[in-house]
């Protein structure tokens, strides 16, 4: 499936800003499954997206639970907890 991937803040520094992604999910195409697949892409990904890290997910520009099922063409963003204001 085609997705647009985005990283912000410390994740952007570690992995770049993201971009178009072609992903072939092996099971349910959830945000958690995508995060697990991304971890296998490089040691930097494995570290930045490690299971214990505080990583938040937004799907189509709305905060989402990692269990959310992704649809074709979705914009998926991974970032650390927000610190605005």
């Amino acid at each position: 499936m085609k997705l647009t991937l985005k990283y912000f803040a410390s994740l952007r520094e570690a992995l770049g800003a993201g971009g178009p992604l072609e992903w072939t999910p092996e099971a349910e195409p959830t945000a958690a499954a995508l995060r697990a697949w991304l971890r296998a892409q490089s040691p930097a990904h494995a570290q930045a997206l490690a299971p214990g890290r505080a990583v938040r997910v937004a799907v189509d520009q709305a905060l989402a639970d990692e269990s959310v099922k992704l649809r074709e063409g979705a914009e998926v963003a991974f970032f650390p907890p927000v610190t605005g204001g």
């Binding site: 803040a9 890290r53 937004a58 709305a62 905060l63 970032f79 650390p80 907890p81 610190t83 605005g84």
Partner: protein
């Protein structure tokens, strides 16, 4: 045309002009409440020489607009404006303005505080501080989640890495 009520910008803002604009042309406003957040020059541990703010363009505006809609419904606000700066800011500079109008003070105070609590935990901004020890990303605070929960909303933004990595 009126300016957008959610603005993300590098430039500073004029608090007095924004408050006046909220009230302009109406005689039904009884209360204007505002909050201005500023860059502090030191934290518990370090001096801070600058702060750099990053955001998620598009999502930020959508998220804050949804927060304003929620605040209007809860508190009966008559108007609201949220301006949040991004980029590099120095100690003493303004970061954020939240201002609301309502018929009475309680709704205005509460609407303003609600919007700030919501923004702190759900708007996609990230702060990086420059200190004598180098640059570091600011950690989210559990207290900010607790502040939003007092309004009856779930909040689990802050979270410490479970591995013993950097904190």
């Amino acid at each position: 045309m009126a300016a957008a009520r959610v603005r993300i910008q590098q430039a500073d803002f004029d608090v007095g002009a924004e408050l006046a604009a909220l009230q302009a042309g109406r005689t039904d406003v009884g209360a204007v409440a505002s909050f201005v957040g500023c860059v502090r020059g030191h934290t518990r541990a370090d001096d801070v020489s600058a702060m750099t703010l990053e955001h998620y363009p598009g999502m930020t505006e959508r998220a804050i607009e949804a927060m304003i809609v929620e605040a209007e419904a809860r508190f009966g606000l008559q108007g609201a404006v949220v301006i949040h700066r991004v980029g590099r800011l120095l100690p003493g500079e303004r970061i954020v303005l939240v201002a609301v109008t309502a018929p009475h003070r309680r709704a205005a105070f509460q609407g303003c505080e609600f919007l700030m609590d919501y923004l702190k935990t759900h708007a996609p901004f990230w702060k990086k501080e420059a200190t004598p020890q180098g640059e570091r990303w600011v950690d989210a605070r559990v207290a900010d989640d607790e502040a939003l929960r007092r309004w009856g909303l779930a909040s689990a933004n802050a979270g410490v890495d479970a591995d013993s990595g950097e904190h």
